[in-house]
Symmetry: C2
DNA sequence: AGTACATTCGACCAATATTGTCAAAACATA
DNA sequence: TATGTTTTGACAATATTGGTCGAATGTACT
């Protein structure tokens, strides 16, 4: 095995253990010692792989975002019909959102919003925006959708969706939720103007 | 309401919130600030009620031990037959053990066994010993049991039970567990000598 | 063995965070 | 207002933490 390969693998191993440590203690409370110990190394050895604790955090976030992305893409790409794709996307978003909000809520339970959480949010937001744009784009290419400007359409719809979520999230157990989503989806898809 | 009463109530309120904070962060990671903030007070206000963080920890442990005690006693006292009492006790012990081991495992997940955990264990151990002795004693008074020396009998049986647990705990989902306990119980109750 | 390189580690320091104290403020109560 | 209780922010003493460095260990190749 290549030297840099081995190095990367060790890095990934540390990232995985860090993820667990963060889950347990939260990012703030977890110390480099915790991470090192959990990885079966000395603290300075962790610094051999990562410049700083910040970098470890970023790596964990980045990897998690990647996993999230894959989950979504895999679920969505299996669906051909763009309309159903959209619906699947919204549903999966509502589900994973719950999980990952748990993840980073525990990170700064109290204490003013940290730099860290802001960064995490931004990364997820960007990711989401990109994924959604792709769905829109492929829908357009397939001749299903027709929007004036993908970028602004995406921004608008994602924003609307987020508003939708804040309303729906706390009634997520509600079995009516699918119907509600269907209704909103219809508006997004066909507009409110009668044809 | 009496003045000292009010004070005690406030203390209890802090103990309850502390318990939640400990559950979340573990005892080591939780700071007096965390506790104070969660209680809606300033740090120094917490020190008005407790001499030190150590005292807060002790109070939480003590209260938890008391709750555990009540759970066991309530469940056991409703049973008249000492034999069934013993069985109920062992079962409930196995169950609550799981819960509270989670509680204090999270307390010092890594880092050498802390003074704190040792104390927690000791308190639970004493408590358990006392409860068990009472069961034995009431069984003797009721004419069901007959042992030479309650104290040593209790020590012996509790020790044996603990050994039993270490074996059984990780296969707790096993539905056969009741049968196994029954078997052990029979040995404890009737001895191994044929009559 | 000897060299070059990757990896691990413990000791160490400066910066930060935490515990615990205190005197003053805010609050209640009569 | 006077008295006792409770809350608080500022502060000192102390402990923990992030991060550095040089030395030790490991490893692969000549």
């Amino acid at each position: 095995m290549n030297l840099t390969e081995k190095r990367k693998e060790e890095r990934n191993r540390i990232i995985e253990t860090s993820r667990e440590v963060f889950k347990k203690y939260g990012c703030r409370k977890a110390t480099m010692n915790d991470i090192a110990y959990a990885s079966g190394k000395a603290k300075s050895s962790v610094y051999y792989y990562f410049k700083s604790k910040d970098e470890v955090c970023n790596a964990v976030i980045f990897t998690e975002a990647g996993k999230y992305r894959n989950t979504v893409l895999k679920a969505v790409s299996e669906i051909k019909n763009p309309e159903k794709q959209l619906k699947a996307y919204i549903l999966i978003r509502l589900q994973t959102d719950k999980v990952y909000s748990n993840f980073y809520n525990s990170m700064n339970h109290f204490s003013k919003k940290s730099k860290f959480v802001k960064r995490l949010k931004k990364i997820y937001d960007d990711e989401e925006f990109r994924i959604f744009s792709n769905i829109l784009k492929s829908g357009i290419e397939a001749g299903y959708f027709d929007v004036y400007d993908i970028k602004y359409a995406a921004v608008g719809i994602v924003t609307a969706m987020r508003g939708l979520e804040t309303v729906l999230l706390h009634q997520f157990e509600n079995p009516e939720i699918e119907k509600k989503i269907d209704n909103i989806l219809k508006i997004i898809l066909y507009g409110i103007v009668k044809r």
